[in-house]
């Protein structure tokens, strides 16, 4: 390999022929497109199965007798796009509490599964998870309150980062799994993905909650509902909020051709008025209220750690003022640095910063 006179290698090109480039904005599309080919083959080979995929995370709901064949098809379909199955990451859960079969290559869970940090489980399962989350939230709040004021900003970020490492493993009980859907959705809906989200004003917080990416950790289920402002009554298969009724659900709406095997078309009544603004009701249940609707008295609950709402607002205001002071200080520094003293600096920058 040529290089400098002393034999050191100066540079090396590494040609890449497989995979998606890291941080490429089109990388997700390219990855999803490649995996889509294998997913479509799985779905076409097993028409009785429900197949859903988020990139390479594939979920299959199928009869127990079909699962071995699904695995074989998945291996072949994955190999066609150079994707190798990882048996160590497989998992199966049977709501009918079926026993594991001899020679089954994947993990057979009898206690439910966690799907993208979203639980599928029973009452006890959800209750235990909620208690754990509430306790964790309380510990975090106490730690924040105990912080010295001078180190609040940096320590807050540090503690939040440390706290969010903990994930929640939720399991189920056989007798109540038919109710698991509603509770799973309920817990997911009311989670608080980031503590910083609590510090936002309700409209901003609502937006952040709706745009949360998957794999974020779960948090308390006793968060005041006036900050969640979207859903009050839930049922299995209920749409969480209007933006979640989009393309896929619309395709399965009443009167539309059934392109995917889902129960939503059996549950949604009243039609859809389009993604992002639909008013959808379940049969007999006014499921969705308008966003930012006025909170009801029943929503005025306290934090699980016992912190009252007034204390929370006071704390939020303190942090808000501190943040503003920090921004002003940074702006002062920025206005006196060399870069910002150039004449080409547009006037609008002063407004934006």
């Amino acid at each position: 390999m040529p290089g400098a006179s002393d034999g050191t290698l100066l540079g090396r090109w590494l040609p890449v022929e497989r995979g998606v480039q890291r941080e490429d904005s089109l990388g997700l599309l390219i990855h999803a497109a490649a995996m889509h080919l294998s997913v479509t083959r799985i779905a076409a080979t097993h028409p009785a199965a429900v197949v859903l995929a988020v990139h390479d995370d594939v979920v299959v709901v199928a009869p127990l007798s079909d699962l071995p064949r699904v695995l074989r098809t998945s291996a072949v379909a994955g190999a066609a796009v150079d994707a190798e199955l990882a048996p160590a990451k497989w998992a199966v859960w049977s709501p009918a509490n079926a026993r594991v079969r001899a020679g089954w290559p994947a993990r057979w869970s009898e206690e439910g599964l966690t799907q993208f940090s979203v639980p599928l489980g029973s009452d006890a399962f959800v209750a235990a998870a909620v208690d754990g989350l509430a306790a964790a939230h309380g510990r975090l709040t106490e730690a924040i309150v105990a912080l010295p004021e001078t180190k609040l900003q940096s320590q807050l970020l540090h503690d939040i980062a440390k706290h969010t490492r903990s994930t929640c493993k939720i399991t189920g009980t056989p007798g109540h799994r038919r109710e698991s859907g509603a509770h799973g959705i309920f817990l997911y809906l009311r989670r608080d993905p980031q503590f910083s989200n609590c510090l936002q004003r309700p409209p901003v917080q609502g937006k952040k909650a709706c745009t949360r990416s998957y794999s974020t950790t779960l948090y308390t289920a006793k968060f005041p509902m006036q900050y969640r402002n979207d859903i009050r009554i839930l049922d299995r298969g209920a749409p969480l909020h209007a933006p979640s009724i989009g393309l896929l659900c619309a395709q399965n709406a009443p009167g539309c051709p059934p392109t995917a095997p889902t129960l939503l078309r059996n549950r949604v009544r009243g039609g859809l008025s389009g993604a992002g603004r639909g008013n959808v009701e379940l049969t007999g249940h006014p499921t969705i209220k308008k966003r930012n609707a006025a909170p009801t008295n029943g929503d005025r609950s306290c934090f699980p750690c016992g912190l009252s709402q007034g204390c929370f607002l006071l704390f939020r205001g303190t942090v808000y003022v501190s943040s503003h002071a920090l921004i002003l200080w940074l702006r002062f520094l920025c206005n006196h640095c060399i870069t910002c003293q150039t004449e080409s600096r547009p006037e609008k920058w002063n407004k934006n910063t």
């Binding site: 990855h31 799994r177 095997p261």
Partner: protein, 217 residues
Amino acid sequence: MEAEFPATLAAAVTLGRTAGVADSLPHSAADDAIRRAPRGSALGSSRLRMEHLRALGDAWQAALAGFVRLLAGAEAVRLVRPLAAHAPAGVDFLLLSKPEGPDGDGVPRLRPIGMPDVVRKLAASALAGALSAAAARLLAPLQIGVGVPNLCERVLHEVTAVLAHRPSHALLQLDFSNAFNLVSRSAAVSFLTRAFTLLRPYLTCVYLGAAAPRVYG
């Protein structure tokens, strides 16, 4: 690929005809990508940051949008020589050691963090923004990883509803090993270019380029 997935590729061609995606990148998509580009992101091989490009001012922003459209269009393949094309197509890596220690062969397990060039990132963002809705239609309803908001909620809805309706069925979670880094580029490009001709120049430049010229020193 035609022999492996004939029906899927044919469906991609059909959707591409009806998707209404232009063959060239719209001006608005380039403008949106520049306007939404995050500040403070890592610099790429050109050492340019988005702050440098914003400092050019309004007049230069239009020129920058034109350059982004050029990079995302067929002109990039025609005008940019292969030697120069590899520069924006490459990625600087920041290699982080994984906490679980070395691999079985004693080599440290690394997590690469890619840092592409800022202008190429703008072109990719513009293309992604222009294709987001059409891509969601192309991949629906099986693959919901692109252009679908609240995707986790959707999966949960589907799975819980189906399990409640068919309690004798089982839920199987499948995962693929390191698929992001190992998946076939030719398969993805073959599928995407059939649906969206808009993507062909970019994918040709960045993912299907000829062997990189060896430059030392």
